[in-house]
Symmetry: C2
Subunit: 190 residues, 2 copies
């Protein structure tokens, strides 16, 4: 369903039929298998990914060799390494499918030309990225002000289905505590 992206865009701006045609001609759906990587540390990230369905995460490998999830992306989210994408520098991150996932992958040159042809899209990406930034501001707030247990319960209340869908150790690292500690929180042993 390439229309998922078009629908998402049209939540924020309105498109002429001709513009829809142009966009459609530029995008195609790719399937990413569970555990497959679309970006690895050291590569330059040259693509923005719009998630149609499934789940993707951005993670790093820390100094002890453990994976830490920094971000999840689900339906209707964009995911990329913005710094690597904008500055053409090697990425610090891995981006990997958590489930079998369908994305619309847009290469930078294609997206750039699309933005020139349909400048209205600048507005769409401006709004989407400002909102993502807002979400990040809240994330930092939660990380700073809540205990591990509070972060777990808060996340669990906000996204109960998501917690079912995704391995616990990924959620634990996303919330910045160990998988073992999460297990104890869930068992009420803390």
């Amino acid at each position: 369903m390439r229309t998922a992206l078009l629908q998402h865009i049209q939540k924020f701006i309105s498109l002429e039929p001709s513009e829809i045609d142009i966009i459609e001609s530029c995008i195609s759906l790719s399937k990413i298998k569970k555990k497959e990587h679309i970006l690895k540390e050291g590569q330059v990230c040259n693509t923005m990914y719009f998630i149609v369905n499934g789940c993707i995460r951005q993670y790093i490998i820390n100094s002890k060799g453990a994976e830490q999830t920094l971000q999840f992306g689900i339906e209707n989210w964009w995911i990329t390494d913005q710094l690597s994408y904008h500055n053409h520098i090697p990425s610090h991150f891995y981006i990997q499918a958590v489930e079998n996932t369908e994305v619309i992958a847009i290469e930078k040159p294609i997206l750039e030309s699309l933005l020139v042809e349909i400048p209205k899209l600048e507005r769409y990406f401006r709004i989407v990225s400002q909102k993502s930034f807002g979400a990040m501001q809240m994330r930092i707030k939660f990380l700073f002000t809540m205990s591990a247990e509070e972060r777990y319960h808060h996340f669990n209340n906000q996204f109960p289905e998501f917690v079912q869908r995704v391995p616990q150790y990924m959620i634990a690292s996303y919330l910045d505590f160990s998988a073992e500690f999460m297990s104890k929180i869930r068992a009420g042993k803390v």
Copy 2:
């Protein structure tokens, strides 16, 4: 110097003289005294602030009544509560001048009409906010992977002048450790 903003914009897009006139007619410089607030928790944030000179921080008051700095803004940065701004909801944050600061404050209705009049500005804000998001991704990475001492030294290396300029307890909370612990790091007692 209202031109600081115009210069910043022109790093990312080019402007016609007529467009510069329009922008200039919409903006004015405000002075904010050290410790003065431009946003308090509970207020709806209806303004974006471009910092011409000085320093501003966004902070919260945590459950123990202590201030925690979530973000600093300096010359050529925009600062606002994006979530409150976009969704018209009460803010979770305080935004306060750390030093006497000059900002260009743009109210939402004015900015919206400016974006309609000069759609090119969408591109400017799109790029700026994607870059800010990228910086935030790196911030989360550092918070997750470095020890308190590493975070201090890293920050100190990246922004040595800044560390001189701003009270230590604000930097400590920005790096997510206590002011006392920072003092011990600096003294090498850790």
